[in-house]
Symmetry: C2
């Protein structure tokens, strides 16, 4: 059997389509008796209003989309949980799609906003260049989370990545770090900011740039191991490594341990994110905690403002406080 329409419901209930629609939308101007007839007909026909027809007429979908390179990042899945909860309490459905760092696929998904498949967009880790994101934000309902460009024109919700990297690097120095190294990722905005914070803290402690080791790559476990292997060929060895993510730090710790050295006695290691990996690691990782869930909630609130008050409401960047979590992978 084909799908039932308002027409069918109206006929079955013995009322007009207008009345059916009023019942569907809980308009108060419906008598109790016709409301009952309509409700019965809806149940009998197993009727559901067709989303595309409704969206067309209403000019909105009550759906939002989030984009991220990967889904398996703990920070992103936690932040998206915040987005989802905030969205749900405003009646929105939130969906997420991975771009896999593929520009074409990202464009296709961004088009879902342009063609009205969704009302708003949250970008976790854009693949497109900063300028393109900023340009999009000029006209469309877009909010960035976690990764925000370091320009005045930028907008979105994040921690202060530079400051956080500065703080944890300071901690490494204060606990005796003299030959610092960092495993970073220049492909990401946040990665570049963390590098800046690292360099700044090291410089303030009187280290010259050529005293600092820096290697970079993707933020996964195997890359962490590979890059650490590279660091371990240095002479003299670094005595403290700041890693751009906990997963990388786990790889780093593993490689150091396998080389017969001790963490933190020989080399201290710090991570970033305070994901569950920080606790799974032995020794447990000193790291930076991001309030990911709240970042997600806030991002949705900002998006909601942009969706409902079009054009206006450019609140700019919002920074949430981070927290240094000291565990056993750094010296005391």
């Amino acid at each position: 059997m084909a799908r039932a329409t308002v027409q069918d419901v109206a006929k079955t209930a013995g009322v007009s389509v207008g009345t059916v629609s009023r019942v569907l939308n809980k308009s108060p101007a419906v008598s109790e008796s016709s409301k009952e007839k309509v409700t019965a007909a809806i149940r009998q026909l197993n009727y559901r209003p067709l989303a595309s027809a409704r969206d067309l007429r209403r000019d909105r979908t009550m759906r939002i989309l989030a984009l991220a390179k990967n889904l398996n990042s703990p920070i992103i899945s936690e932040a998206f949980r915040g987005v989802g909860d905030a969205a749900a309490s405003s009646g929105y459905v939130s969906l997420i799609a991975p771009t896999a760092g593929d520009l074409e696929r990202e464009q296709q998904l961004v088009d879902m906003l342009r063609n009205g498949s969704v009302d708003g967009l949250i970008m976790f880790s854009p693949t497109m260049p900063d300028e393109d994101v900023d340009e999009m934000a000029e006209q469309l309902s877009v909010v960035q989370v976690c990764e925000i460009a370091d320009s005045e024109a930028a907008f979105g919700v994040s921690i202060d990545d530079r400051q956080a990297a500065f703080d944890i690097t300071r901690h490494l120095i204060e606990t005796g770090g003299r030959r610092l190294a960092m495993i970073g990722n220049r492909a990401a905005r946040s990665g570049r900011l963390r590098e800046e914070g690292f360099r700044q803290a090291a410089a303030e402690a009187g280290m010259s740039p050529d005293q600092m080791l820096f290697v970079e790559g993707e933020f996964d476990f195997h890359t962490g191991r590979r890059l650490t292997r590279k660091l371990l060929t240095a002479d003299p060895l670094p005595d403290a490594v700041f890693c751009g993510s906990d997963t990388v730090a786990a790889g780093c710790v593993r490689e150091i341990t396998d080389a017969g050295l001790r963490v933190p006695d020989d080399i201290a290691v710090a991570g970033f994110d305070d994901s569950v990996q920080a606790e799974m690691c032995v020794p447990e990782l000193t790291t930076i905690r991001q309030p990911a869930y709240d970042m997600g909630r806030l991002a949705f609130e900002e998006l909601l403002a942009r969706m409902t008050v079009p054009g206006a409401h450019r609140r700019g960047r919002t920074f949430l406080p981070h927290e240094l979590v000291v565990r056993d992978s750094t010296r005391t």
Copy 2:
């Protein structure tokens, strides 16, 4: 400025709406000259066809939705990558949404299929009861992945969880396990099947049910630790533990190690999934590899068949081969 419509494009290009639509849909029956005029007008007005209008008329969206309890499961994110790649090469956009194990939210998302917001649905870890899923599958384009009910009426793509659990339990026994324990999860279909496989292998090795320890809970690191603590109060201690996921196994190994016992010498530990956690663990975990990416691809193919040939094409359950990966967390 408001959104441009086909009407606007037609006027600007000096042709009719029909011609504009024909250009948009690459109909061959358009002269070169009007195609150029239309293309120019589209660019000039920055026109995008409105999705809801198009979907309404075409009666399909070229979008599919996947549902999972959590996004951060490595198996799910890998399987969804397979779904996404297969979908993309058939011109579909694939989205995913977490249900958080909340029945109401799951219903709301399933409604997106019922009301035509998407053309098909992939369910990774349903919260609703098996019967409801089967009933949905009768009428709608739904495919299950990873978690398949153990009934003939069931359908979807998965590994043979019972056999896989049987295989890895056999391995534990063959390498000297005499007092077996399992950390499982009865809330999930796959969890129940894995328990069956475990019990069957143990029974075949001549162990009585009361010789086997069994505890259960959610599949996360902290639960793994907590449940292992419970196992370690047993007397005599188990000498081999089969965990329902690598994450749980990581927690199990950690707790055993912290208690001053050695893995695998005192207690062997096996995981499940062959996620990256299996390699992050020290010692690295013996586990079961699931071909998650291929499961995702296959699931989409099956879904595509259901979407395009409605009603028909109930291929039933498809099992993909798993693989026992032996590492250092079990004896040799």
